[in-house]
């Protein structure tokens, strides 16, 4: 049988993969995809806890699933705005490489 810890471990590994992608990659679009991985890792642990802590009626705790629903919605809106910013950035600077975008660097 799978335990709660198995799901949390998978979720933690996925979060660490996304985190390493944000830290190591230099392409803005790949960094954005790694952000999505991290959001989804959080969703997986939320759903695992929703199934683990049953409500009084013996059904999953639907509050957590509604929170996941909200996270997915906000993430979709965030992707749309973020990609529009990347397009605007590419128009002015002709690059998607974060090391070329250094006007604010000290």
């Amino acid at each position: 049988m799978t335990t709660l810890g198995d799901y949390l471990t998978v979720s933690g590994i996925l979060f660490a993969i996304g985190f390493s992608g944000v830290l190591l990659r230099r392409n803005v679009i790949i960094i954005f995809m790694a952000l999505e991985l991290m959001l989804n890792a959080a969703n997986l642990s939320l759903v695992a806890f929703s199934r683990f802590r049953l409500g009084d009626d013996g059904l999953p705790n639907y509050n957590a699933q509604v929170l996941v629903f909200f996270i997915i919605t906000v993430a979709a809106a965030e992707v749309a705005v973020g990609l529009a910013i990347i397009v605007a950035l590419y128009r002015t600077r002709r690059t998607t490489h974060v090391e070329d975008i250094n006007s604010l660097k000290f």
Partner: protein, 167 residues
């Protein structure tokens, strides 16, 4: 769900999630992300969250990934040319991510709750979408409407941002 199916989908998801970070070609990364999300939705369904699993496929594997591929096509991104890598930053970032992973695993390993299996549901064929909808439109009606306004704002923001001249 049998244990081996869980591990099958989990390993597929983690391998393709790692490929997102490893691949040099942005299109290969985006397609790996699709497979990763499909595996994740299988895990959601294993947890009896059918609505969330379907939403995951529709919104992420459908809409968001099409958006990513469309932007990659629009910007005409090729595989990254190799640049001089900053090895100090690379090793530092890798160590930070690794220490985060070790810490997460240590916390999970020391929690007693993590070793328990999932309790059985009261009724195995519960009407999942109906129950989520009752909670969503009952307890969380106001946040739901706020989210609707947020999406409207995001739509307007995208249109303003992608105009050719910003005024």
């Amino acid at each position: 769900m049998p244990s081996f199916l869980f591990w099958l989908f989990a390993i597929v998801m983690l391998v393709f999630g790692a490929l997102v970070v490893i691949n040099r070609n942005p299109i290969a990364s985006a397609l790996s992300l699709v497979v990763c999300f499909l595996g994740l939705s299988a895990l959601f369904m294993a947890l009896d969250a059918f609505f969330i699993g379907i939403i995951q496929v529709l919104v992420y594997a459908g809409a968001v990934m099409v958006l990513f591929l469309f932007i990659i096509m629009l910007l005409d991104l090729r595989a990254e040319e190799r640049r001089k890598m900053n090895w100090f930053a690379f090793v530092g970032g890798f160590l930070v991510a690794l220490s985060l992973l070790v810490q997460i695993l240590a916390v999970i390993g020391s929690t007693r709750m993590a070793k328990q299996t999932f309790p059985p549901l009261a009724s195995p064929h519960a009407d999942d979408v109906r129950n989520v909808g009752l909670v969503l439109f009952g307890n969380y009606n106001l946040p739901f409407q706020v989210i609707a306004v947020l999406i409207l704002v995001a739509t307007i923001g995208v249109i303003v941002l992608s105009k050719r001249q910003l005024r």
